[in-house]
């Protein structure tokens, strides 16, 4: 028995779990009822899911943000700048990103132990944020970003939304940045490019791409690609994301201004 890594501190769920099956789900290829070649259900190919973003929800954190795009829900808290725990002297500050999935965030239960998936998400968000933060102003200090994925509907969308939430939380925390980081995801379905895919759409696509940028400066901070995309498709994805990032930037700006006026 795998008793050695049995977690005694938490209430352990059953060893196996199954996503609930609903009557109207059965007999369909995906919950969308969508087949290759059909146009996108619910929204246009270049549309993203509506975003709800609010800064400053977690009171004990220095800065925080909550983002919700339909069935993706992410909370983000920023602590610091605080003293670095490492023993080496560093002229620049450090950025530390931790991502946690809530046990109920996915269709299958997530064990509350760090696995490879949350680390790779954290690396992506770290990479997207790093060029935006003025770490040269914070010698010997660390900024800690904790991201909790409350509900996960497509990991690409979660990485993009997590980056946006983290950047908003950093601005709320009053950490000096070159600009706000905005990220958007895209996937290719057939010949079309669909922006901000949800889980089912990402599963059906041949490749996905996440694009993070600072629209205020017109610079790209991170691009990552998964699956199969031709160079031409990748460039078209990036162009589509770039355009949409400007719209998301307006949403973030509105949330931050609203928060700044309240405090």
């Amino acid at each position: 028995m795998a008793q050695s890594n049995f977690d005694r501190r938490r209430i352990n769920g059953p060893e196996e779990s199954f996503p609930p099956t609903f009557e109207d789900d059965e007999g369909e290829p995906s919950s969308l009822g969508w087949r290759l070649g059909q146009p996108r259900q619910g929204r246009a190919a270049s549309d993203i899911r509506p975003i709800f973003l609010k800064a400053g929800l977690i009171t004990q954190a220095n800065g925080s943000a909550y983002i919700e795009t339909q069935r993706s829900k992410i909370a983000c808290a920023v602590y610091g700048p605080r003293q670095s725990k490492s023993t080496v002297y560093s002229e620049n500050g450090r950025l530390n990103v931790e991502v946690k999935f809530a046990p109920f965030s996915c269709t299958r239960r997530k064990v509350p132990i760090r696995d490879a998936e949350d680390r790779s998400v954290a690396v992506q968000i770290h990479q997207a944020l790093l060029p935006s933060i003025r770490l040269e102003l914070l010698p010997k200090s660390t900024i800690d970003i904790f991201i909790t994925i409350i509900e996960n509907d497509g990991i690409d969308g979660c990485i993009a939304a997590g980056s946006v939430a983290a950047s908003t939380a950093l601005a709320d925390a009053g950490i000096e940045m070159l600009g706000l980081v905005i990220a958007c995801s895209a996937c290719t379905i057939g010949k079309e490019i669909w922006l901000d895919p949800n889980n089912d759409e990402a599963q059906a696509s041949s490749g996905t791409l996440i694009y993070a940028s600072m629209p205020a400066l017109g610079t790209v901070t991170n691009v990552s690609q998964n699956g199969r995309l031709t160079p031409d498709e990748a460039i078209r994805c990036m162009e589509a994301c770039q355009e949409r990032c400007i719209d998301i930037h307006a949403v973030v700006a509105e949330a931050l201004l609203e928060n700044a006026q309240q405090s």
């Binding site: 610091g80 700048p81 009053g174 000096e176 706000l180 931050l256």
Partner: protein, 183 residues
Amino acid sequence: MSSDLVLPGQPIPIPRGPIPQLGTGVYAREGAVRASLTGTPRYEGPVGTRPLPRPPAPNSVVLGSITRLSPLQAVLSITVVDGVPLPAGEEFTGVIRVQDVRATEKDKVKIADCFRGGDVVKGLVISLGDARSYYVTTARNDLGVIFATSEAGATMEPVSWQEMRCPKTGKIEKRKCAKPEGL
């Protein structure tokens, strides 16, 4: 009012003429001055936001309590930087080395005759120090112990720059006292 607020990355209009010296919260990139914080830009002083806790930097005045003593140095836990308190649990560690306690007769300084555990000390950060701690000095009249309790547990009052008296027992204990300004 909302038009006055700027967001990180937003360009700040600068009137014609020489570019002003940039303070905190702004930076110059490709010839344009941009904000790096959310707030209202001002021509004098930094971008106005609520006072934010900052890590100590050289020349910042800090308050902290002594946590550990050794013959060579006193360790203090910095809780206030430039008048802004740090959030609980996010203290920085500072070190007062024996040569940084006072300006004169540095070789005669005994750490035990200058600080005791729990004393609240006002100091000046002289350097970023090593990986673990900031170097703090008290070598100025207005720097040193500002609050201390005696062995009997009463709050002591300073009688000279190196002695404090317990009001309960009348006993005199040695400290490197601060003479705060405006007294």
